[in-house]
Structure formats: structure tokens, C-alpha cells
């Protein structure tokens, strides 16, 4: 078995009475493009926050690139890049200033930081307005900048929380290409997205979390094999996802109960 880039053992996080992540045992091999899926409130963002050091687990342990996060937080952080939920940008800096700040915080020298920042801004098509504050960027531009900041130090693992949300189709295409190339070069990419088509196209491996618990993990082929498929076409990721987390008939009342909303308008 190859080296695990991310390894968690009984990772649990409670918020008062609520258990957001419940005994998560996750193993992500190095170099995998890993999709982490789940319905709203399943615990995806909480997991990413724990794995990137933004949240402390209530119990359990985790290793990133073979290092215990709790014991070696700085060494771990040096090797990971993050696009967190909310993006974590300093909105009163310009894009270039922010990349300069992040690059140097990760220990890059000023010349390298400046060179990489300029190249990333060009690639993300953010170089046209160098004097504009991030606060005045559109949501999609902010996402692109957050992604640029996450990769400026050439991390070995990249954690991306909904990286394509709000990004236009052209930019998303270029970003997907970049991420695929990074994965090919050995970078582990841990991605959450509600757009299952993106996950299906990009990710080699997938895990599904539901109500804080891991309900499936493996390659797409393994997941397909584990679920009884209807006859005919192979199962899409959406079908797999629905069968894993959406099959509970008691979880949501039927649409018919909203007849006041669905019947013909007066």
C-alpha cells in the first residue's frame, strides 16, 4: 500500500449536543484526487477545518503526510494549501499584496513570492486590476485568488472547500486542468463540492459522509461495484450518492405535501 497523505482515526468533533463529525476513519493515498461528498450539514466543511488546523477535534487523531498534526502543526501546515469555507482573504489588501503576504508567511523569499504571485495572477486573469482591493472583487474572482494563495507555496496536499462555486465556466475549465496536472505531479487534492459532475470527472477516489459518519470510501469503480445497479447504463455518481444518503424515506416529507406550492398558479 502507498503512503497515506491523510489518515484519520476515530476523528470526532462535537458542538455541544451536536456531533458534526462522528468517528471518521479516512485514508487518502498520496497523489489521489479525492472527492469528499455529503449533503448539507453532513460534516464536510467541519472535516476540512479539522484537517487544516482551523478546528480542534474533540477526540481521535489524524496524520498528514505521516506527521501527527497535533504534535507537528507547523510542519504540517507548511506542506498543505487550503481554500477554506469563506476563503479567508484579507479584503483590504490588493490581490498582489495578499499573495505577497501569504507567500512570505509560508516562508518563500520575496523574489520567489513576487514571481509566483505575478504568474498566478496572470493565470487566474486577476492581473488586469492590480490596484483593486479584494473587497471589490466579485465572488468568483475571490475564489480564484484564494486558490492562487493556496498553491503559491507548492503544497503537497491541497484542501479545497467548494473551489468552483461562483467561478465562471471558462475559468473553472482552466482551474480543473491545473488541478488535474497537479494531481498527476503527485499532489494530493482533497476536494468538497456539491456539483457531483465535477467530482465524477476530476476525482479518482471518493468518500461520502452523512450525518457526520463515513458511509462509503473508495475509487469510483469500487463504489459502483458496492451498490446494486439498475440494469442498463453504469451508475452515475449522483445515483450512487442518492442511494447512499438520500434513500431514507423518513428524512424528508414527499413533495406532495407542498401542494400549495406546486399546483397551478391561480
Amino acid at each position: 500500500m502507498s503512503e497515506a497523505a491523510i489518515l484519520t482515526e476515530n476523528l470526532t468533533r462535537r458542538f455541544g449536543q451536536l456531533t458534526a463529525v462522528d468517528g471518521l476513519n479516512l485514508r487518502v493515498e498520496a497523489g489521489h484526487f479525492f472527492g469528499f461528498l455529503g449533503p448539507n450539514g453532513a460534516g464536510k466543511s467541519t472535516t476540512i477545518k479539522i484537517l487544516t488546523g482551523l478546528l480542534v477535534p474533540s477526540s481521535g487523531r489524524m496524520e498528514i503526510l505521516g506527521l501527527d498534526f497535533a504534535a507537528h502543526p507547523i510542519e504540517v501546515k507548511r506542506q498543505i494549501g487550503v481554500v477554506p469555507e469563506g476563503m479567508g482573504l484579507f479584503e483590504r489588501l490588493t490581490g498582489a499584496e495578499y499573495l505577497d503576504f501569504v507567500g512570505q508567511m509560508y516562508g518563500l523569499d520575496r523574489v520567489t513570492t513576487a514571481k509566483r504571485a505575478a504568474e498566478l495572477l496572470d493565470f487566474m486573469q486577476l492581473a488586469e486590476r492590480p490596484k483593486t482591493l479584494i473587497a471589490d472583487y466579485s465572488h468568483g474572482m475571490q475564489k480564484k485568488l484564494a486558490l492562487a494563495a493556496a498553491v503559491i507555496h507548492r503544497p503537497r496536499i491541497l484542501f479545497l472547500d467548494e473551489p468552483f462555486e461562483g467561478v465562471d465556466a471558462l475559468a473553472a475549465g482552466a482551474l480543473k486542468q491545473l488541478l488535474a496536472r497537479m494531481a498527476e505531479s503527485g499532489v494530493t487534492i482533497f476536494l468538497t463540492s456539491h456539483v457531483l459532475e465535477i467530482v465524477e470527472r476530476l476525482c479518482s477516489h471518493v468518500a461520502v459522509i452523512h450525518r457526520g459518519r463515513l458511509v462509503a470510501q473508495g475509487s469510483l469503480q469500487e463504489l459502483r461495484a458496492g451498490i446494486a445497479a439498475p440494469e442498463g447504463a453504469p451508475m452515475t455518481l449522483e445515483q450512487i450518492f442518492v442511494s447512499l444518503v438520500g434513500a431514507d424515506p423518513t428524512a424528508r416529507p414527499p413533495v406532495e405535501e407542498l401542494s400549495w406550492l406546486t399546483e397551478s398558479a391561480p
Binding site: T52, G53, L54, L55, V56, P73, I74, E75, V76, K77, R78, I80, V82, P84, G86, M87, G88, L89, F90, E91, R92, L93, T94, A96, E97, L99, D100, F101, V102, Q104, M105, Y106, G107, D109, R110, V111, T113, A114, A117, R129, P130, K131, T132, L133, A135, D136, A149, W260, P266
Partner: protein, 553 residues
């Protein structure tokens, strides 16, 4: 209309909004640190309440005195006091007032009248407004106790006087909010404000010796004051006491007449918001960073290269944030301006200046000025992550111990302090306010004690009780109440210890004693500060969720 939907009455709409506000207020005390916030609020409330009670008592006594002596025109002075307190303090303390973005309501089918009524009702909920209502009520109570028959007239006058004040305050608030939403206007306004403050100081020397020539002008202007609201209120009460109902009605109508244009102006402003006016920095297009330096993001002053890279980059980021934050910038410049104003009061050219006596005590004035600068400039350090917003996540995902972040922020503040202290010293020297050598060295040693001691406590408070503040906003831009108490307590403790040391020098007749004691204290404070950085770094890790939760909202 869609089925099942009924039109709400104005009262129902207002009731809904009141319920919403109540829930928001209640939920504010549910988060982490909520208990401390509540304790801070109660203690601050008691302190401010005692102050208001003191002034209310004085005004009530004054009203009783003038009314019982039938000197009704003098009541105008008391009403002027309330009016000025209400209108001036409401602007300066707008940061303390409750926050609620009324614009968020406009997506609902809310009628303009409900929007208007709620805005006015909110005006009374401001602490300054509430204090002003208490002060005005104290005047009315004093009048009622002196002359019971004046109660109905006092109630009518009080109602219109309060209504006028609320409308004026809401109007000014609304106009200022609109003005200050634009960065350029803020900059122009602050520049004008400083110019006026400084220019005003030259009026004293200019008018010196010309008072007699000015007296006829003042006497000619005096009658015009009688047509202003406070005088109208006093005249109405005088008329009521004299049984002149026509004059009473005319004066009350005058008060109502003043209220009317402000009501219309406020209606016009709120109508514009109701129609979808956007109040924000982005309204006039994106803000661009001026100057050629903006494009050279990686350029770094040579002096910063002496620092470790991560500390240097935090210092640089703090500098950029300061330049882009009008309020923070004003906070940094204000001490200089105020020291300048105090210093200008000194000397024979302005013998009647209220600070002249203080200014002549050179040593004490010098120490006081430096202490005052330290006090004001270090105040924001007690909530030093306030403007980070979501950027706080970057600080936690970066491979850096938080001591580098704290050190960067503190070094930047020390740099600003050093520049300001140097400017104040130059200013005082130019005005001939300069202490003897022991006094000078003692002041430096005291600063070396106070600054690290303040920063140690401030770092702890920043990590423990963070609160997000926003650029370009006036309302609700204050530190948590508990932080305010910590700041006050630390300042009082440090100030008292400095005073004791300096007085001890006087008692023992040894001017060098404070220097020695302050140096010892400075050594301890600096040692404590350095030792605290690692502990605070650990605290930051423990408090990361509190920080992210508070700043990423």
C-alpha cells in the same frame, strides 16, 4: 395577491420588527464569551448610568432653581445643554450604538411608514438618546416640583422638544452615514475636521483685546437665539406660567415647526433607501489603491528586512490596513491633534486658555501628553484582530506560530507610537514645554514600562474577546464591553502606579528616583511581555474557534 396572504397593518409590521430585534438582542448573549459580555455591559451600564444620574440631578436642580425664582428664560440654558449633548455625543458615540442593517428589511413587503417609525424608535434606543431623554425628563421633573401647575405645559413642551431632538439626530446620522459610506468623502471630511479644529485655536489669539469691539455684535445676535428651539421651550414654559396661552401655543408651534423640516428630510432620506439606494463603498465603483507603490506589492522597506520574514510581512500588512482605514487612521492622528490643541493654549498669547495652568507645569504636561498619546494609540490593540475579518483563517492555516503575528502587530504599533511620541516631543519643544533631564528620562522609562505592560494585556484581551469591526461603518464599531472594562482597568492601574512613582520622587526630593523605579518596572514589563508571547501563542491555538467564529461572521 397570492392566496393566504393578508396585508399587515402598520402596527403589526412594527410589532414584527420589534420582535425580530428582541430575538437578535437575546441571541447576542448566547455565544461564547456571552456571560462576560453581559457582565461588561452591566458594569459599563452602571458606570455610565451613575454619570447620567449625576448630570440629571444637576439639571433637575437647575430647573427647580430657575422655576421657583420665576426666571424661566434661564431654562433655555438647560435645554441647550440637552440638545448639544444629544446631537454632538450621538455622532461621537455612534460606534457604541446598536447595530441593525435596516436595508436588510427592504426585501420584505414592508411599508415606508413602518420603516420610518422603526428608524425613529431606534433613535430612542441609542444609549446617548436614552441618556438625553433622562436628562430632559430631569429638567421637566425639576420644573414640576417647583411649580406643580406647569406640569401639563411641561409635558407638551417636553414632547415636542424630545421629538425634535430625535428627528435631528436621526437626520444627522442618516446624512453622515450616507456621506461616510464613500471613502473619498470620509477623507475630505476628516481633513476639514482637522483644519477646523486647528484653525479654531487661532481665533483666541485673534480675538484677544478685541472683546469690547465684538460685544455689540454679540448683543445684536443675542435676540436671534430666542428663536431657536431651547429658547422656544423656555419661552413656552414662561408663557404657560404667565397664563399667556397664545404665546405658549406660538412657542410650541415653533418647536413643531422646527421638527417638521427634519421629519421631511428624514422621510426623504429613508425614502431613497426604501427605493433601493445602496450605501456602500462600492457604490461609486471599486476602491483602487493609489500610488505607484501599490503595484509593487513585494517591495518592502529596508528596516523591515531586519525582522524575521513572517513578522515583517505582518508589520507591512498592518501598515497597509492602517492606510486604508479612515477610522483607524483618525485614531492614530487624533492624539497628535489634541496635544497640539492643548499645547497651543499655553503662553501669554492666550492667557484665558482653560489648560494654561496645566500647560505651565512643564514636567507634568510633558508626561501627561506622552501618557495620553500612549493611552489613545494603544487602545485599539485591545481588539487587534478586529479588522482581519475572514483573513484570520489565513493566519491559522499558515505555518506560523501566533507569536510572530502578535509580535508583528505590536511592533507596528510601537513604530506608530515612536513616531507620534517624537512628533509630540517636537511640538512641545517648539512650544517651550520641556522637562528637566530627570523628568525626560523618567518619562521615557515610564513609557518603556507602560507600553509592553499594555500590549501584554491587550494581546490577551484580543485573543480572548475578539469582535469584528468593519471598514467604513460608523455604527456598532466598538470593542466588546468586557474588553472596554479590561482596557479601563489596565489603564487605571498603570496610570496610578506611574503617578505613585512620580509623586514618590517629589516626596523624597529625589528627581532621579522615578527614573530608577521606572527602569526596574520597564525591565519587568518587557520580560513579562516576552515571556507572555509563547503563552499567548498557545492561547491563540486554544481560542482559534472563538476568533474564527467572531471574525468570520
Amino acid at each position: 395577491m397570492a392566496d393566504g396572504i393578508r396585508s399587515l397593518t402598520l402596527a403589526q409590521e412594527v410589532a414584527l420588527l420589534v420582535r425580530l430585534r428582541w430575538r437578535i438582542l437575546r441571541n447576542r448573549f448566547r455565544g461564547k464569551n456571552a456571560a462576560l459580555e453581559l457582565i461588561g455591559l452591566i458594569i459599563s451600564g452602571l458606570f455610565l448610568g451613575a454619570l447620567v444620574f449625576f448630570f440629571a440631578f444637576a439639571l433637575g436642580e437647575g430647573a427647580y432653581f430657575f422655576t421657583s425664582r420665576r426666571e424661566y428664560p434661564w431654562l433655555a440654558v438647560l435645554f441647550w445643554g440637552v440638545l448639544l449633548f444629544w446631537q454632538v455625543f450621538a455622532v461621537f458615540f455612534s460606534g457604541l450604538t446598536a447595530s441593525f442593517d435596516f436595508h436588510s428589511l427592504l426585501r420584505f413587503p414592508l411599508r415606508l411608514r413602518a420603516f420610518f417609525v422603526m428608524n425613529i424608535a431606534y433613535g430612542v434606543a441609542d444609549p446617548v438618546a436614552a441618556a438625553s431623554v433622562i436628562l430632559a425628563s430631569a429638567i421637566l421633573l425639576g420644573i414640576a416640583m417647583a411649580q406643580c401647575s406647569l406640569v401639563p405645559a411641561a409635558l407638551v413642551v417636553g414632547f415636542f422638544f424630545l421629538l425634535l431632538n430625535i428627528l435631528v439626530e436621526r437626520c444627522i446620522g442618516s446624512l453622515l452615514e450616507r456621506l461616510f459610506a464613500k471613502r473619498r468623502t470620509r477623507e475630505v471630511f476628516f481633513a476639514l475636521f482637522f483644519l477646523v479644529m486647528i484653525s479654531a485655536q487661532f481665533t483666541g489669539p485673534l480675538l484677544a483685546g478685541r472683546q469690547r469691539a465684538l460685544l455689540p455684535w454679540v448683543q445684536r445676535l443675542w435676540p436671534y437665539l430666542n428663536i431657536l428651539p431651547p429658547s422656544l421651550a423656555a419661552s413656552a414654559l414662561g408663557a404657560a406660567a404667565g397664563g399667556d396661552s397664545m404665546l405658549f401655543a406660538a412657542n410650541v408651534a415653533g418647536l413643531a415647526g422646527y421638527a417638521m423640516p427634519f421629519a421631511l428630510l428624514l422621510w426623504w432620506r429613508l425614502s431613497a433607501q426604501y427605493r433601493g439606494e445602496l450605501i456602500s463603498d462600492t457604490e461609486s465603483g471599486p476602491v483602487v489603491v493609489r500610488g505607484a507603490k501599490a503595484s509593487r506589492a513585494s517591495s518592502q522597506p529596508a528596516i523591515l528586512r531586519l525582522l524575521p520574514g513572517q513578522v515583517a510581512v505582518v508589520v507591512q500588512k498592518e501598515f497597509r490596513y492602517l492606510l486604508r482605514n479612515g477610522m483607524a487612521w483618525m485614531n492614530m492622528v487624533m492624539p497628535l491633534v489634541l496635544v497640539l490643541l492643548f499645547a497651543l493654549q499655553r503662553g501669554p498669547a492666550h492667557p484665558l486658555g482653560p489648560f494654561a495652568g496645566i500647560a505651565r507645569a512643564g514636567d507634568w504636561f510633558f508626561r501627561g501628553a506622552i501618557g495620553y498619546v500612549i493611552l489613545l494609540v494603544t487602545a485599539p490593540a485591545y481588539n487587534c484582530f478586529a479588522f482581519e475579518g475572514r483573513g484570520i483563517q489565513t493566519l491559522f492555516t499558515a505555518p506560523v506560530r501566533f507569536r510572530a503575528v502578535l509580535l508583528g502587530k505590536n511592533l507596528f504599533l510601537i513604530g506608530v507610537l515612536a513616531a507620534e511620541i517624537a512628533a509630540v516631543m517636537a511640538l512641545l519643544h517648539a512650544r517651550g514645554i520641556w522637562p528637566a533631564l530627570p523628568g525626560l528620562l523618567g518619562t521615557f522609562a515610564a513609557a518603556a514600562y507602560m507600553i509592553p505592560a499594555q500590549l501584554t494585556v491587550a494581546n490577551w484581551a484580543s485573543l480572548s474577546f475578539p469582535r469584528k469591526l468593519e471598514f467604513g461603518k460608523m455604527r456598532n464599531q466598538r470593542a466588546p464591553w468586557f474588553t472596554t472594562l479590561v482596557t479601563l482597568g489596565t489603564t487605571l492601574a498603570l496610570g496610578a502606579s506611574c503617578a505613585v512613582v512620580m509623586l514618590a520622587g517629589g516626596w523624597f526630593g529625589n528627581p532621579w528616583l522615578p527614573v530608577g523605579v521606572f527602569l526596574l518596572l520597564a525591565g519587568a514589563a518587557i520580560g513579562g511581555y516576552v515571556a507572555s508571547l509563547d503563552a499567548l501563542s498557545d492561547l491563540a491555538e486554544k481560542k482559534r474557534e472563538v476568533l474564527i467564529d467572531a471574525l468570520c461572521r
